[in-house]
Amino acid sequence: LGLALYAGSLCAVSGAPFVYHDYCVIGAGPAGLQAAYFLQQAGRDYVVFERSHAPGSFFALYPRHRKLISINKQYTGKSNSEFNLRHDWNSLLSHDRRLVFRHYSRDFFPNADTMVRYLEDFASLLKLRVQYNTAIIHVTLEKNEQAWNGHYFLLTDQDRKNYKCSSLLVAAGMWVPNVVNFPGSEYVEGYETVSINPEDFAGQTVLILGRGNSAFETAENILGVTNFIHMVSRSRVRLSWATHYVGDLRAINNGLLDTYQLKSLDGLLEGDLEDLAIVKDKKGKLHITLRFYLENRNISAGIDSITLPQDELDNFATRAPYDRVIRCLGWKFDFSIYNRSLRMMPGKGNIKKYPQIKPSYESKGTRGLFVLGTASHSVDFRKSAGGFIHGFRYTTRAVHRLLENRHHGVPWPSTVYPMTQLTNSIIKRVNEASGLYQMFSVLADIILLRENATAFEYLEEYPIGVLAELEMQTGRKARNGLFVIVMEYGRNFSGADKDVFYYNRAVGEAQHAWQSNFLHPVIYYYKHLPTEHEMKLRPPDWPLPRPDAIHHIVEDFLTDWTAPNAHILPLRRFLENCLSTDLRNFFAESCFLFAFTHQKLPPFCQQGYLRMQGLVGSQELRHHAVQAGLLQDYTQTDFLGDRPPDSHDGSQEQLMRDHEIPVRPLQHLVNAKDE
């Protein structure tokens, strides 16, 4: 409360006046607003800085052709709001039922203007504290022993106004265009500014640099009016249906592939843009050559003296001159505003456009600085959905929960259940949870076992990259073992070169579940929390270290994992064997028998029947159980029956052996994905 008194107050320390807040958020895009929502809900002192006059300024410009490629599904056949978020890629998380994207647009791929409108509503309906027209141009640190992280963040805006915060959440997005410099790159137009009017391209020959969705989107727009379009990039084209990564080329944009493969003049080429050079001839046509030739040429000579590849190789692919060259190479993070002391470093390799962060989304260089939203995608680049709204809305919530625990002593929210609810709680989550589904292999549900395996604690959507720090990060104890529930695609299924339509690609039988290809739940069991070292040494392509036991729930055509025999039964057996107990349900009558014949009772009887909450069951049900041979009908017992006492664990067990169970589970019937 003491800090709250400060809130928003203008202070003057050491000359420079500043406004203090516990949390500063840079950027009022989807991630910034999402973070603001959680901070507001928790009653924290925060402010969001937005350089534009309204939220979502990126979406006001981009995508240039205005069609979002995130799915907005109107109908799923279900009313479960959590489940429906699995197929709503645009909404942010909130308690307000008005703020669901399908109320804003009926388009499957909505217009970007709708997103801007949605974000405006989100900020205003929820009364989020956003300070517009404030561009943060410099961020530096002020050392202070008292501060949460040993330092304060000092922010300066375009008007030289200063702000001071204990924790900085960077949700500034990725908006600096990626530019490649090569001889002649001055002739190249950028995606940011290129005309979006197809008329301007009529009868032209166009070369597009880049092979992402923006490149294909641009091509799609002008496909019908150009002579032909060539597209050049270093890497091969990655189709999102093959890679299962939504950032790769989406089918909605791939019209050019169609014309390329049907020999309709358009084409794709692979080559390193760094080796490229463009020369303009007198007619204004652009010729492709190689940097290598330019380096050898006589500087003073004109265009004619430049060697073109076709001079030596007369069937060189891009020998035809182009009218326009368009650069569609994506975006990178704006590193420029951070003082060196913050050590905001670019990542290495294919994630160099992102700042370096830990799997907890905290900057590697500065404690207390968290990167949210699309700029945090280095954690799961080309893997999961962390770079997109439908992914980072969950990781933002996870960061908020980490902060609540770290700074306010609010442990990660959890629910404690009796052990009998173990199978149920897992089945419930894998069937409806959207965070697990969207952020597969990144966020996981954690089940912490209590002593003697009588109860457990359920934590939702924890970032598995920091599993080793679970106790510190969540304020919960993991002394008696844990289960980690994630969703995974088959290990060898996704990839740019993979045939994802091959015959018999779907697994139907529970016993082969580990070979499942499509997204399916996987449960890891650890007797002890894995250490940081074990996390580092985990096998390649494993999201987690080798567990003590693992279970895959077999992939399902309908992503409905509630089948009693194919899904729930194998899961129960797995849990039983990890915990070394019997997790079956019993009718009250069976518990009654056990109470008189065993000194110990199975958990279901202990936690139900013994507490006077036995499952009596209707006549029909008990009759069915008798017919299945799982319950003995004693009403017709012949009294003189000389059956000796069962030697061990109960007549039920015995009965199971004695009776032929006529109905074999028909898991094969569910094998339906491969028609």
């Binding site: 070169d497 036991a549 006077m612 036995g614 004693y634």
Partner: protein, 839 residues
Amino acid sequence: MSAQKDSWVSSLLFLLFCASSIPWSGCVGLQQEPSPQHYFSGLGAGKASLAFFTPSVSPGAQPFLEQIESSAEALQDYGISVVKVNCPKEDVSRYCGKENALRKAFLFRGNRLIREFPTDALFDVNSIVANVLFALLFNEVKYVETLADLENIENVLKGKSNMVFAYVPATGTAEHRAVMEAAFVYGTIHQFVLTTEAALLKATSHDDPNVSSAWLLFCHCQRATDPAQPCRRTALGQPLTLLSIHRHLKLMGAPLVTEVAEDPEKVSTVHLQLGLPLVFILSQKETYEADRRTAEFVAWQLLGKAGVALLSRDLVNLNVLHRSNVALKTPDEGMPIQYLVLEDTDEVITLVEDRNKVKQIQEDEQQEEEEEEEDEDEKDNNNQDIQDDQVVEAVSRDKKRELPLEQILVLTEENFHSSLSEAARTVVLFYASWEAVSLAVLRSYSEVAAQLKGTPGVLLSRVNCWDWPGLCSQENVTQFPTIKIYKEGRQSVTYDGMWGTEELSSFILLSRVSCPLKLATMDEAERYLRGEFPSELSSHHHTSLLGVFSTATGGAREAFEEAGNILSGHVRMGMYFEDDASALSQKYSVSPPALLLARSGGRSVEGIALSKHSVQDMVQMIRDELLDIFPEITVPNLPQYLQLRKPFLILFSAGDISQMESEEMLKLAKGRAQQAFVACWLNLKKTPVGHGILKKYFSTTPSLPVLLWVNLHAGGQVFKFPPEQSITEMNILSWLEKLQAGLEIPSSTLSEEDWKPPLPAYDFLQMMEPPELSPHTSPHPGDTPVPHPPKRPGGDTATREEPSQESTAEEVGSPGRDLRGTAPRLAARDKQGKRHSEL
């Protein structure tokens, strides 16, 4: 147990080895000799051999040859070689020349011919071994045909050595072989006598024997001193095999009574090693002679069933009851020695025999089980995919039946709050449509709806949490199923009783009336106690509870009201605190604050002073007061009595119990012992699962009624009231005293076993292989396709890597399966080819 068996099997083999007088050297199996001359010249003196002569193999002799060859190894154990002698064509000697000699086998000792066997007497290994040994041991094994012959031999042996008398239905059988093999080992120690005469069998065994099965008696003639008396006999109670005979002879050879002067825990005798119990007769110096006689008497009775040892208490410092006179040590590992006080020797014998009987049954069963398990293993080594959860299976079998749910309103996020205000009481079942327990409760709930149809002021509804997770978490529902009763759309009570139709509808009905119900007039209070007021509950026969308070007893009254909130729906509670409360209290002679309890429709009203003022105590007290003194235990009410954590004295009855029994038990229950145990009864007609309990306790169902003491919480012993005694308070009390003194032997003990997983899970970790061993399973995205790893037959990997053409070809190739194509793989059944990679 099995380890023990192994050890004595090996000791037997060792014995056999030592006993074979002629050490065997050379190769195992059938020997070949080029010619008769060669054979005869090589025969060592005293060395036995079985020879047969063949010119060339005649087709008819083929089966015989096979048998001979396979018996060669068995005979070698006894130092007998089996030799096949080739007859040169020109040889016309005694063995080779004659046509009929070729159909015989010849047994030689040295080069002396002992016997000729026609090949048809040597039909299998048993007959070969039996006949050969029989011929060789004609001195050691006497064959008798009449009773007189047998008695003669017996008389000769008296005082000298013991006799083993065996009856076999025919020679050449497996039993015959077993007897002969035993004779080979023990022939020098005991006199063996064999017969095939059924008449002799009848003369030697008391009851009507089965002439088609073999029989063996051990006759203790060495100890027999009186020539007029026949020797004592101990029959072998098991089928005749070499092992059983060996075991029997070992037991007979052991001393009758072993004298022990050490800690019984450390004592080990032949009996224990052979898996039999050992009975200790605890002796003292003063009574040593008598004890010894007792021990010998008991030992004779138990011969072959248990060992008897005489333990001098003076020599060993035993930390047991002074009165104990018998101890029983069982061969099972870790079973403590039982010390008992027994009245006579018969008790000792029954003790052992009962134990053996149970054990035998268990062993048989175990064997059966093992066999079954083996069968199962062969068939299919996993039943993991078969449902063994009775609730889940029952619900899925009932899936197709349409439930009568018209009476139950379906609530959604939209109509939840508006619907709650429609009725005075709204019952809401929160459930998940995929969850078995929820669905089981939904079935009972639909029955409740039918029962309560038309009851004013009650609305039954349901929320499927699979459709409306937000609503369920908002209503704080974390488990399925949950039933809440909302009062005028606001505060709610969560149902915490049995998930049964009766219990639930009674709860709902009781919840309609506030708890406790404030009674305004004396008349109301009286009518309330008689069960006539309020009218909503008049059809309900519950114990009525009335709290009587004076205006001064505020604290107690508040606690009572709070207790009423907690017990709402379970208990019928009223409250009276008008000025004339004293009139009411005078009538029932209590002083406020007090409780009036009207059991069974107000015929009797008890008054209890309210001394405790904490809510928790009050709730507990009310619960305790509502328990019956001598209840009939049923499935729904058992948990209430289990919570008392006392032993049960329970009378199992086939139907209603008799007036007499009921009165006696009631006297007992009300008596001084009341605090120590729960006296109750069980009506097997009403609670048939009681049969299951009795079956578990006793190998044979006892005659009913049967009174049992069940130590449910400590030790789990079950004691059976002696059926010959009549069930009276006196008899039971004295029996209980004996029980407490440890003088009774439990009939059964409740299993202490933990509830382990019924079946193993799929070991996916192992199937996935250690990743470091198989880099091919995880190539990096973008890598070139990895060549196929070497195929491993059988493993899952092999299945996985199997090229798809194989199965396609197979499907195309097999006619009659081509219809499959019409239902595109929806029902692909083949266990093979779960998945094919076409990399």
